[in-house]
Subunit: 216 residues, 2 copies
Amino acid sequence: MTDEVVLRERDRLGLRERKKLATRQALCDAAMQLAINHGIEGITPERIADAADVSSRTFRNYFSSPEEAIISGMQESARALPANLRARPRTEPIWDSLCIALVTTVEETMSARDLMSLLALVRCHRSLLAEHLTALEEASQQLAEIIAERTGTDVNRDIYPRMLADVARIAVKSSLDLWSQGNTGRDIGEILTEALDLLGRGLSVPATAPPITGST
Amino acid sequence: MTDEVVLRERDRLGLRERKKLATRQALCDAAMQLAINHGIEGITPERIADAADVSSRTFRNYFSSPEEAIISGMQESARALPANLRARPRTEPIWDSLCIALVTTVEETMSARDLMSLLALVRCHRSLLAEHLTALEEASQQLAEIIAERTGTDVNRDIYPRMLADVARIAVKSSLDLWSQGNTGRDIGEILTEALDLLGRGLSVPATAPPITGST
DNA sequence: GGAAAGATTGCAAATTCGGCAAGATCCAGT
DNA sequence: ACTGGATCTTGCCGAATTTGCAATCTTTCC
């Protein structure tokens, strides 16, 4: 039996694969750390590779730019979303499933305070912003497929799954933007919940009154 | 009187400014035309500059990449949105104003059929997609400020204006994506209107029935 | 008219990118 | 365990791209 377990482990991930993942992770971490500590300017493939104990040539085998490495490192944490969404019961309304999965994922991944300062950087630098937005776009694509599968719709023909995924994305994005400014002093989960509630109820509602904060 | 007019013209835009705008426009047009005719691959600052009758060094003074020039050319047309939104009466509900301004702007700018093929290109190329998304992001920022001003909310503290602006963005984006696929044979204004309607009413509505495609 | 400010251009230095091959490490079959 | 093949890392080098700078020309302002 032990053999079988070992075998399964090996099938799942060989040593080679694990090492590859490890260096990728090391590069991401190094990139993020450098960005946080010294800002974006002056970050070069060399420094990142240096900090990750690989050659600069290796860095280029994994990423085509420092920005890509940084953002990839941030996204890394958010990979849990698909799993969290699939974990919801299929009988639950898709919107509710989506909201719960989103809030759960975001709250978990944002516990690391570093990500807040990183997000603040992203808002200031066009090159980072571009990477971040495309990453979100790709995530949104995946999400749309899951939603389509759950709701029995077709990504390529119906607009509903795309729309739902895109709305989820901007709920996350708006919340993160606001949160990373640090002015509100509110929890990220709280902000995101408000955003999702706003979207769920429809936006043609009265505008001026803060729609959520004053619940009860 | 003629003198006064000339004088006012001059105050508004000096000859120098006008020339600068002109070369920028020429570069954008050249970039878009080249992209449409020969695809993205093989487009180089040299060719664009050549087509616009300036040196390649000058191109770099304006844009840092061919992609930036292309997308900037597309965005050029959409600059009317802020004006269109401000033109709406302040007594009108903000959501209605937004929808009208969006549909008007998009219908006007998309009358040029070239933009459809360009949008199709954008969906296929990561570098173009990145530029496109950041351009949309910047537009969204401006929009958020206008909305905040209109609704008496604060961009830096309330989530509502950002949300509204971002939702407008994805409505536009989704509609353009669907439209540029060319499968629907429908008008872009029509598609956008239905997307906005869906968003306005709230997304926690039944999922499985295609809410857009089968409208009466 | 003339000086200051700004735009365009060409050139050259510097940087980045990507292919290639050598060496190291891992995997699978015996 | 051994071995042949596959994959990853790395240094090196040439090509392409980007940037800095100074010269030249145009516009603006006094």
